[in-house]
């Protein structure tokens, strides 16, 4: 099973490669990828160095051009695909059908993966992407239960990759405009969700307040741990009751599902977090490498080690983890 790891910088990429990644995925320094954050990502020359480093250790490099191209910016997306192909990356991860079509026509030998942003949640949809763009792999959105993943895997015409660890999107990826409703930027259009430039923190008599484009996302009492104001994780009011209406701040952790995912035929597990630090990458990749190796050595005797859980909890959002949609009760 392939371990696909995130890198938002060269140090993070080295951390991933050195700690056991099978493949590392990166994006360019613009809105063509779904982690378009300031100070993050790779320029063309850096992608070349990233590729050389990864290759020297036998690790693959994937490039994500996985946002949706709007008409004024088409040249940017086209260029991103051309660079990825010219550099010779192992796979291009894309969502937009226009981008996939361009890649298929212009670079027929480029290995294409359907991004999670492509919302391919079922076998018919994956067949469309396979038939029209000859994708080799699809990353499944984090909305499916384990049983549903198994159903898709059974009929999927392409290899499947699933999210294993990291921030949890509560909404079907590629189908969420909450961020642009409040800020004008969304993952689909700009590669940003609840962008930092719209975030404001304020100490008030009522507590510490986090705002997104002036909208109050959360208010923290004394001693409460404050988190980044990703808007779906805010505390809102329904009929006078304040709660995490959509989702609590929490991380996905599926390490205990490794045997099931393997049995279903999942070919790759993905770690989320190109926006996270090299230390995060190092810790998470190290644990997952150990877990996959142990599982492969002794599939029947696989047990989640307490030290793995502890190490992963330390780097989790909200310091708690969940099986997310894989467990039906979460839905």
């Amino acid at each position: 099973m392939e371990l696909v790891c995130p890198a938002g910088s060269l140090p993070a990429l080295k951390a991933a490669v050195d700690n056991g990644a099978s493949a590392v995925y990166v994006g360019f320094k613009d809105e063509t990828n779904a982690r378009h954050f300031s100070g993050l990502n790779f320029k063309e020359a850096k992608v070349q160095s990233a590729l050389s480093y990864a290759r020297s250790k036998g690790v693959k490099l994937f490039v994500a051009v996985n946002t949706y191209s709007q008409p004024d910016g088409w040249a940017k997306w086209q260029k991103a695909v051309d660079i990825a192909s010219d550099v010779g990356v192992d796979a291009l991860i894309a969502a937009d059908m226009g981008v996939l079509d361009y890649a298929t026509q212009k670079h027929p030998d480029l290995n294409l993966h359907l991004s999670v942003q492509g919302s391919g949640t079922n076998s018919e949809s994956l067949s469309f992407y396979k038939n029209n763009f000859n994708i080799k792999r699809a990353v499944l959105p984090r909305v499916l239960s384990l049983k549903q993943v198994a159903q898709v895997a059974k009929k999927s015409p392409v290899d499947l990759e699933v999210f294993a660890f990291g921030s949890l999107c509560i909404m079907a990826e590629g189908r969420c405009y909450l961020s642009s409703y409040l800020t004008d930027q969304s993952p689909n259009t700009c590669g940003a969700c609840s962008p930092a430039s719209f975030v404001r923190w304020q100490e008030t008599d009522a507590g510490l307040e986090s705002r997104l484009n002036d909208v109050l996302i959360d208010r923290y009492g004394e001693g409460e741990k404050a988190g980044y104001p990703t808007l779906c994780k805010g505390r809102f009011d329904i009929d006078g009751e304040i709660s995490n209406v959509l989702e609590e701040p929490t991380s996905l952790n599926t390490i205990g599902l490794l045997p099931e995912l393997d049995a279903i035929g999942i070919k790759a597990v993905k770690i989320e977090g190109r926006q996270r630090s090299p230390v995060y990458v190092e810790q998470v990749v190290k644990v997952w490498r150990q877990a996959i190796d142990e599982y492969q050595r002794s599939p029947d005797g696989f047990n989640v080690r307490p030290q793995w859980t502890k190490a992963l909890a330390k780097v989790s959002e909200g310091a708690q983890t969940t099986l997310g949609a894989y467990s039906r009760s979460w839905q």
Partner: protein
């Protein structure tokens, strides 16, 4: 320009659905989309009953289109979709690429709904070649984007082969999830949701802790709490070449809204006031929740 009625996004009792459409037949609406697009567990009307209703409404001479589910996660949902594509007496609206796959394989013409993620002319052309005869722009795109896409379609030589429809009135469909937020609010497990969204015929209002209206929960769908309203942009859309304006059903006044959209005197566009409950930011490439008056926009 024609006016269409989008599918009912909420879960209404069967009789209410029938009564609603009988009422719609009396309006000047040109096209009626119907069917379950949000949650496969909503079965006040079976698939067969939706298709029968489609046949019945089509007898009136209005165009009728069967809308299909947006988020398909289970085999059973794919089976229903296949059956709709096979048996629909009228065109089908694809709201997921799975529907595009099935319909294009059958060589049937279809409509690409607002969640099929058509963000550029290249994608639009691809859909047209697959059999799409109309598309609905993603709600988060601006008027400027639309204009550019349509110009490019013209340059690419396929603009006359596909119609353009714009979501022009209603709670904006903003997100789909595996999780049912209505069940979560009521502390019910999704598998035993008791179909409780039927008790919220226009969703559940979510406000910030400062009482700012934000979202509208509709089962697995999250909508804007404000009503998106592009009535004042009608002339602009007409000039761009938009063919159809979509009105999303609400409990009361849908008929009246249709008549306003159909009858509005274009010389008086700018005189239509926007209330606080309306938003139109997306059209101006601003946050969707914003309200830009015609005057501000110039």
């Amino acid at each position: 320009m024609k006016v269409s009625l989008g599918p009912i996004l909420f879960f209404w009792p069967k009789q209410k659905v029938f009564d609603f459409y009988e009422q719609m037949l009396q309006t000047s609406v040109d096209t009626i989309y119907l069917g379950e697009t949000v949650c496969s567990k909503r079965r006040e009307l079976s698939t067969a009953e939706w298709l029968e209703l489609a046949s019945h409404l089509a007898e009136s001479g209005k165009e009728v289109v069967v809308s299909s589910l947006a988020l398909l996660m289970a085999e059973s949902e794919l089976s229903t979709l296949r059956s709709i594509c096979e048996k629909a007496p009228v065109k089908v609206e694809a709201n997921d690429i799975s529907a595009v796959q099935i319909l294009s394989e059958k060589g049937l013409p279809f409509v690409c709904g607002p969640s099929t993620n058509i963000y550029n002319a290249r994608t639009l052309k691809l859909m047209q070649k697959q059999g799409a005869v109309r598309w609905v722009m993603p709600v988060e795109l601006s008027g400027h984007c639309l204009q550019t896409i349509l110009q490019q379609a013209e340059e690419m030589g396929f603009a006359d082969k596909i119609e353009t429809e714009v979501f022009s009135y209603g709670h904006l469909p903003l997100a789909f999830s595996a999780r049912c937020f209505t069940a979560r609010y009521l502390d019910l497990p999704k598998d035993n949701c008791k179909f409780s969204c039927i008790d919220y015929p226009e969703g559940i209002l979510v406000k910030s802790q400062e009482q700012q209206k934000l979202f509208n929960l509709n089962g697995v769908q999250t909508q804007s709490s404000d009503i998106y309203n592009l009535l004042a942009q009608k002339a602009e859309m007409q000039a761009m070449g938009v063919d159809m304006l979509r009105i999303s059903p609400v409990e009361e006044d849908t008929a009246q809204i249709i008549e306003r959209f159909n009858a509005v005197d274009q010389s008086k566009q700018n005189m239509i006031p926007l209330s606080d409950e309306f938003c139109n930011g997306y059209w101006y490439a601003k946050p969707g929740m914003d309200t830009v008056s015609e005057f501000d926009a110039i």
